[in-house]
């Protein structure tokens, strides 16, 4: 079996990719998906941690996180859709009336 710590490294890499995506992608939906990627990187870490520490908490937690992520999707999509209806665009850069 692979060294479980490598899973952690993978999780970190996924997390960074997610974070970079939030910063780089203009489309609100993609940015939001990148956030989901970050959450799932965490899930990976939880599961790996569960293995490393020999406890089950991590695995149950992954389910919690999924539920939370789902809830987030609901709220997030609602907001993004309503903005899309108004502006006919999902670019986060278009929403910059609030500044300075």
């Amino acid at each position: 079996m692979m060294n479980p710590e490598n899973y952690l490294i993978l999780a970190a890499i996924l997390f960074v990719i997610g974070a970079l995506g939030v910063m780089l992608r203009r489309n609100a939906l993609i940015a939001f998906l990148c956030v989901e990627l970050m959450l799932n990187a965490c899930n990976l870490a939880f599961v790996a941690g569960s293995h490393i520490t020999g406890t089950l908490d991590g695995q149950t937690t992954a389910f919690f996180v999924m539920v939370v992520a789902a809830a987030e999707v609901v709220v997030g999509l609602a907001i993004i859709v309503s903005i899309y209806k108004t502006r006919r665009s999902t670019s986060v850069d278009d929403a910059n009336l609030l500044k300075l």
Binding site: V22, M23, N96
Partner: protein, 636 residues
């Protein structure tokens, strides 16, 4: 130094002496009353004020009589009035010391003061603010009496400043005249410079002796370190210079002639300006412990007596001539006081005779002005001896007294000083002698220009004799100018001996060699003046001249210019520099700081771009920052 022991401790006040404070209080209260009552007292204010001074005079004479009757050791009486304040180790009492010295002053002040009050009733009769004038005069009398009757330096200083205030008020009495207002301010400010000396002297006394009482200071003086004794002496001298218009603080006195003439007579001739002499004599113990300070007094006095005389020779304003003369005469007194025990009595003697004859002449000058529509320029006078007989005659008495005509009062008092000066230092003596010659010169010039020669009156001027209320004081003062010298000549030294610890000189009526010399010099001065001014007619407008001596004299030895250059200009420049620094420097710095923050804020706002992605970037920068700080902290 042993002499000090001969000074008797003052005895506590009893009987009449417990009334001494009313000498001060009555005029002070009357002054306050007249000022507060305002127009209500216009009708009778001057009478009340005059009565108040005569009350003080009466008390002074009674006290003097009591002193005469008392044995020599019990003549000095102290009357403690109340505790002014006590703080720390220091106890400041308001107390009076009526001794042989102060009683003479009290009588001079109230006597001459009373006469001048009477004179002023006439002189100021047309002035709508006469009541106010009398209030100020009474204020002056009260302050001056406090000055001479105080038993410690601090209370003396209160009187000192009080007379300064009265002087200021009276010089600028005709406030609507800019020159008068400026002259008052100038006098006060220059006196303040002298006051620094007083404050420093008193502070030093307190540090040295723990008291400013004359008795305690005198007792401790001998034990003072020479440096501090000298410093106290110099500080006191500075004070005296300010009040007595001695060089280098002389410049205010001539301007002070802007005041009504009775004021010039009372304050700027007879009494206030002699306070410096009083101060030096009163502080004799300190000066005796400080030869350098004594020397400084002598030098200042000599310079002043010559400078004053010099100014007197070239002024055309009758009052300014007299003012220069006053400076010069006070120089004589200071000289005597500076010489030491040998001169104290003569200083006071000359002070008293001068008080009478100079007041006499000033009032005479006032009488002349009264008749000449308040013109003060002697070039517009001439031949007034016929128009104003009483004034002329009384003025002549004063003239003879001041030039030292034999057996007139100045003859005694001034000759003694010149003799004492010669005894002290020949050079000083010669200076004093020359001063006497110049005195004769300028006084003769004044007499010639005013009372003799052709009439150079301006059109519309009809000289006339003044009313009785003015001439009677003149006559009284003239009598004193003539006689007081002879009366006091043999008596004054003995009288003052217990107070000042002096040894009486043998005096005789036969002139000494120095006396003969003096007479000769005086005669020379008179003749010279006659040669210059008596024979030829005097131009109505002062002729232009390049003679530096005359120019310097006309410009009061450039005292104002020196002061402007040394003090006024730098002070004005500093004041505007302060203004600039506050507004442009400090405030700009503060405002700049504020603007810097605002600028920073404007820059910072640019970071808030409105793009969600850049906010995310900011957060990631934050992540890096957190990492960096944690790592640095772990490593460090």
């Amino acid at each position: 130094m042993i002499l000090l022991e001969t000074i008797a401790e003052p005895v506590a006040a009893t009987g009449m002496f417990t009334w001494a404070w009313t000498m001060i209080a009555v005029p002070a209260v009357v002054a306050g009353l007249l000022l507060v009552a305002g127009k209500l007292s216009d009708a009778w204010g001057h009478l009340l004020a005059t009565a108040a001074v005569f009350w003080s005079f009466a008390i002074a004479v009674c006290l003097f009589a009591e002193q005469l009757l008392a044995p020599a050791t019990e003549r000095a009486v102290s009357a403690n009035l109340y505790t002014w304040f006590t703080v720390g180790q220091w106890d400041f009492q308001v107390g009076l010391l009526v001794d042989q010295l102060s009683i003479l002053f009290a009588m001079l002040i109230t006597g001459v003061g009373g006469l001048i009050h009477v004179y002023s009733i006439g002189y100021m009769s047309h002035d709508p603010r006469r009541r106010r004038f009398f209030a100020y005069l009474n204020l002056f009398i009260a302050a001056m009496l406090l000055l001479v009757l105080a038993d410690n330096y601090l209370v003396l200083f209160v009187g000192w400043e009080g007379v300064g205030l009265a002087s200021y008020l009276l010089i600028s009495f005709w406030q609507h005249r800019p020159a008068a207002a400026a002259a008052g301010t100038k006098a006060f400010v220059m006196n303040r410079v002298g006051d620094l000396g007083m404050l420093m002297a008193i502070s030093t006394m307190l540090a040295m002796f723990g008291s400013s009482k004359f008795t305690e200071v005198n007792a401790g003086a001998a034990g003072t370190e020479p440096m501090w004794a000298t410093l106290i002496g110099l500080f006191l001298l500075l004070g005296a210079c300010g009040k007595s218009a001695q060089v280098p603080l002389q410049a205010w006195l001539l301007d002070a002639m802007e005041g009504p003439t009775p004021v010039s007579a009372l304050i700027h001739a007879a009494t206030m300006v002699t306070a410096g002499v009083y101060l030096v004599v009163r502080s004799h113990a300190l000066f005796e412990a400080a030869p350098i300070a004594q020397l400084a007094v002598v030098i200042v006095a000599t310079v002043t007596l010559l400078a004053g005389a010099w100014i007197g020779t070239s002024q055309d304003d009758i009052k300014k001539v007299l003012a220069g003369s006053t400076m010069s005469q006070i120089g004589y007194m200071m000289l005597a006081a500076g010489i030491g025990p040998a001169g104290y009595a003569f200083a006071i003697f000359h002070l008293i005779t001068h008080g009478f004859f100079k007041a006499n002449m000033f009032l005479g000058a006032g009488s002349v002005m009264h008749g000449m529509n308040d013109d003060v320029n002697m070039r517009h006078y001439g031949g007034l001896s016929k128009a104003m007989k009483v004034t002329f005659l009384t003025f002549a008495m004063g003239y003879l007294a001041i030039i030292g005509f034999p057996f007139f009062s100045g003859y005694f008092s001034k000759d003694h000083i010149i003799e004492a000066a010669f005894a002290d230092n020949t050079f000083i003596g010669i200076c004093a002698l020359i001063g006497a010659g110049i005195t004769a010169f300028y006084m003769t010039r004044l007499m010639l220009m005013t009372f003799f020669g052709e009439e150079r009156w301006l059109p519309g001027v009809h000289p006339h004799e003044s009313p009785k209320v003015m001439t009677i004081p003149l006559i009284v003062l003239a009598v004193f100018s003539v006689g007081i010298g002879a009366v006091m000549n043999f008596w004054i030294q003995t009288w003052l001996e217990p107070a000042l610890g002096i040894h009486a000189h043998e005096l005789s009526l036969v002139p000494t060699p120095v006396g003969w010399m003096t007479m000769a010099v005086v005669a020379l001065g008179v003749v010279a003046a006659w040669l210059v001014f008596g024979r030829s007619s005097i131009p109505v407008v002062a002729p232009a001249t390049n003679n530096p001596v005359t120019l310097a004299g006309r410009n009061v030895l450039f005292g104002d210019q020196v002061n402007d250059f040394l003090f006024v200009t730098p002070a004005v420049a500093l004041a505007s520099a302060v203004d600039t620094t506050d507004a442009k420097g400090i405030d700009t710095a503060v405002d700049g700081l504020g603007r810097a923050f605002l600028g920073l804020s404007t820059q910072l706002r640019r970071l808030q771009t409105g793009y969600a992605r850049s906010y995310a970037l900011t957060m990631v920068v934050g992540v890096l920052l957190v990492g960096a700080v944690l790592i640095l902290n772990l490593v460090g």
